[in-house]
């Protein structure tokens, strides 16, 4: 099997782990912002360190390698996908910081619009899947 398919498969696997962790982060921030049990926040942060964070790094590493290997860098669908991926990566950084603060200072308010953020993550993941599979505008 060629390198491109391997890179693509590992990229998708990392993305699944990342989106799962991002959603978990989001739910915990929403549910526990008022009165956060320290052990649960610690558990989510530990999961973030062990799985979601490394998965984010792998998503980017394998993604850039696959795009380079497949010669997709100038494709419009990839540019659109990159915008969504940068948004989700930034959201992860923001939420990771909020979790750290939550662990340190109990009673820190969560994001006001968190349910919509959860919806945004799902929408973002759906857009990414559609763009990556259909590759609009590209001759596959």
């Amino acid at each position: 099997m060629d390198t491109y398919l391997w890179l693509k498969a590992l990229h998708v696997a990392s993305a699944l782990v990342f989106v799962g962790g991002l959603l978990a982060q989001s739910v915990v921030l929403h549910a526990l912002a008022e009165d956060a049990p320290p052990h649960l926040v610690q558990a989510v942060r530990r999961w973030d360190r062990l799985a979601t964070g490394p998965a984010l790094l792998l998503v980017w590493g394998f993604g850039l390698a696959a795009a380079s290997s497949g010669g997709w860098f100038t494709a419009p669908w990839l540019m659109a996908k990159l915008v969504v991926v940068i948004g989700l990566s930034a959201l992860h950084g923001l939420q990771a910081g909020r979790l750290r603060r939550l662990e340190r200072e109990s009673g820190t308010p969560g994001f006001q619009a968190l349910p919509r953020i959860g919806l945004g993550i799902l929408l973002g993941a759906a857009i990414i899947a559609v763009l990556a599979v259909l590759k609009p505008g590209a001759t596959i």
């Binding site: 984010l56 590493g61 795009a67 290997s69 990566s89 950084g93 750290r100 603060r101 340190r104």
Partner: protein
């Protein structure tokens, strides 16, 4: 063996040199000071002589002499070692284009060094910190251990200082890759039709930019009281200016000093 010039850019050809650089940094971090600084200076001096029979005639001697001077300065200042590795990266590129690789029987060896050397250079330019020490510091400040040790859960200066140190490194890497891309690779593409630099540096800068934004947001969101909107905006906006990130280093040093004062 015929040598393809320039070396075709592949995913593996970009990832492998970066991994080698990270391994080099990991191993060098195990060496204690001042041996780490002295070894680094001697090593770059040796690397500077690798192309003595590289085909550029008297220029090879000039380059070797320049690296020797920088290596001597490197015995007392890591920045000189960093600059020497950046020059070496440029020399690697020249030899890749010329078709005379650093390891004669490995045709893409000079291209590999061209990608690997800037990563090493950035580590030296940030003072060659012990990466294992940084990781241990982060691990020691994990919440469970902190509580076990009866420390305050209110303030975590070690973790916050570690976060600022990572942000400093991310800032240097981001600004360095952007400057190389915009000031060197893009003009070479449009003026000389040479697009290898853009193809190699584009993805690397993309990764560095996202890492910087991610670490910035994580730092700001964890401690919004210490990050007024003005500072946060400055941190992010300067990332879009080539070499602008260097102006963030003083801000980050100030934040670290303020944090250290609070901890004390």
């Amino acid at each position: 063996m015929p040598v393809a010039t320039p070396t075709p850019v592949t995913a593996l050809g970009l990832i492998l040199p970066v991994l080698i650089a990270l391994m080099f940094i990991g191993v060098c971090s195990l060496v204690r000071e001042p041996a780490r600084r002295n070894f680094s200076a001697i090593f770059v001096a040796g690397a500077g002589a690798a192309y003595l029979s590289g085909g550029f005639g008297v220029l090879e001697l000039v380059f070797c002499a320049a690296i020797t001077v920088l290596a001597y300065r490197g015995l007392s200042d890591y920045r000189a070692t960093g600059v020497a590795w950046l020059l070496h990266s440029g020399w690697d590129l020249a030899h890749d284009l010329y078709g005379n690789p650093i390891i004669p029987f490995v045709p893409d060896s000079s291209f590999g060094c061209f990608v690997c050397d800037p990563v090493i250079a950035l580590w030296y330019l940030t003072g060659a910190p012990n990466v294992w020490g940084l990781l241990r510091k982060h691990h020691r400040s994990a919440p469970g251990r902190r509580r076990e040790a009866g420390m305050s859960a209110r303030r975590v200066p070690a973790e916050d200082l570690g976060q600022l140190a990572r942000l400093r490194i991310a800032s240097v890497v981001e600004t360095g890759t952007l400057a190389s891309l915009v000031l060197v690779a893009v003009p070479l593409k449009h003026l000389a039709g040479w697009d290898l630099g853009v193809r190699a540096l584009g993805p690397l800068h993309g990764l560095a930019f996202v890492a910087f934004i991610w670490i910035s947001l994580r730092t700001i969101a964890a401690d919004p009281d210490r990050w007024p909107s003005k500072d946060a905006a400055r941190l992010i906006l300067l990332a879009f200016v080539p070499l602008g990130g260097l102006f963030n280093l003083r801000l980050l040093r100030r934040k670290a000093e303020a944090l250290g004062a609070t901890a004390g």
